[in-house]
Symmetry: C2
Subunit: 116 residues, 2 copies
């Protein structure tokens, strides 16, 4: 199997991962749950490249997880759809598991992030 064929897999877990299993995708959704809605806000918060961010947002919109709502010409809010909101338990458990099982390693230098 190729990663790109996951969407036709018999297993629902594999199909879920075909939508949210790419690098950064779940972190973008975490930001959505916290209230971020805009391109630059995601980019600054996550630090991924603009190229990838554009790609991931497009895929999420395409999959019906986010919807793109214009608030001015050429500017958009990305908001969770009902489908997207249904992912809350996944993030919630990842939060709990990480808190319990993945101690924070020391950083090289400058601190970042604020989320929760």
């Amino acid at each position: 199997m190729k990663w790109s064929d996951l969407d036709s897999d018999k297993c629902p877990i594999a199909r879920s991962l075909s939508v949210v299993g790419d690098r950064w995708t779940l972190l973008i959704l975490r930001d959505c749950f916290v209230g971020n809605t805009r391109f630059d806000a995601f980019q600054k918060s996550l630090g991924l490249t603009r190229h990838l961010l554009a790609d991931r947002l497009a895929k999420l919109v395409n999959a019906g997880v986010l919807k793109k709502e214009p608030y001015a010409k050429g500017r958009y809010d990305y908001r969770l759809t009902t489908q997207g909101k249904a992912l809350a338990p996944v993030l919630s458990h990842l939060f709990d598991w990480g808190k319990e099982n993945v101690p924070r390693t020391e950083m090289a230098s400058g601190e970042r992030e604020a989320h929760t």
Copy 2:
């Protein structure tokens, strides 16, 4: 932020993803929950390259999610640790979400897989 710095992130979700957020990793764990324990079994079931499988298994063992138990000289069973078993709710919700929200697309040709 780089993907490789996620392990020092303040957010537990980001730290979780530093362990299980790589391509294939959650599918390998799914196989573990279903009872697979061996290298070739994972490889045949998932179809990822042996190279990547070796890499992912090593990372999971290193992170304490799987443990490597020899059953013969040079042969091993990979089994979930307590920490690994604690990921069950994540997979469970991904299962539910995929079943509800990600319809299976048609395949190009030959069917595969059996899981679930």
